[in-house]
């Protein structure tokens, strides 16, 4: 999510393919270095409710995730 623009596709690829994975890792790190938060929409296995899972490392991303959403970190308004 980019202020002033909304949703912007940063990178896409198959994480099982090494070249794609390197590209995804690089973009993931770049976004976190810029101070963005990363979250993955998931379904709670217990309740079935949808919720988000914050990820701080590429390895934390659930393997079956379709996307990671980066958004500016929250600050007091």
């Amino acid at each position: 999510m980019k202020p002033g623009h909304g949703e912007v596709l940063l990178a896409e690829g198959d994480p099982r393919v090494r070249e794609d994975e390197e590209k995804l890792i690089e973009e993931f790190r770049r976004q976190l270095d810029e101070g963005m938060w990363a979250a993955v929409p998931v379904r709670n296995p217990g309740s079935g409710r949808r919720e988000a899972q914050m990820v701080k490392h590429y390895a934390d991303i659930p393997p079956d995730s379709e996307r990671v959403i980066f958004f500016p970190r929250a600050s007091g308004g």
Binding site: G6, R50, P72, A74, G76, G77
Partner: protein, 205 residues
Amino acid sequence: MLLALLALALVTVVLAAPIAYRRAASWRAARERRRPAAAGELDMDLYDPGRERRAEQRARELLRSCVNEEEWGMYRDLGFIRVAGRHARRGLDRDRGARPAYAYLVYPHKPIVAYVPESGQLLSEYCVEFPDLTGTGGRHRLPASDDVLAKWMALTSDEDRVIRRANMHLVGRQLDPARVRRDLWRLAEWERRRGNREQVHHSQR
């Protein structure tokens, strides 16, 4: 006589040449200064009146793809989303159907309101924003639906962190408490109608 006039004209031209040259040079420099500025403006700030509308449309689709069906319906119909408090949601998960001890109303570009669903008591408002970190200048903000999604993701994934970062106030600093109470009433009505529709839907099966 003619020779004298020619000589006078020649002297005038010679005297005026440096002045004319300086004028021409400064005019050329001013023209050069103006030209790149105009080109830069064209590159950077061509106003696109549809950009924000398209961004909001994409944001709505993204929000819809992330939240529950009930939450999406709530946002579409009422303009806000209710998120159960994390500590309450654990209890809710154990005992489905029970109301959470507290919940939040998430509005676009307005503070998050904490309240008690059981009594309707308003607890506090949390002012939080997601500012532009890219440093590209200007002060843009997220489209309305992206702002709601960012709050939803922050609350459902790490409620404590977003609440710690927010500025907490009593309800009434930015939001009108009467309006929030009216929204709670609208939410209750919306849920009642939705419950009725689901009952009819099940009885028709």
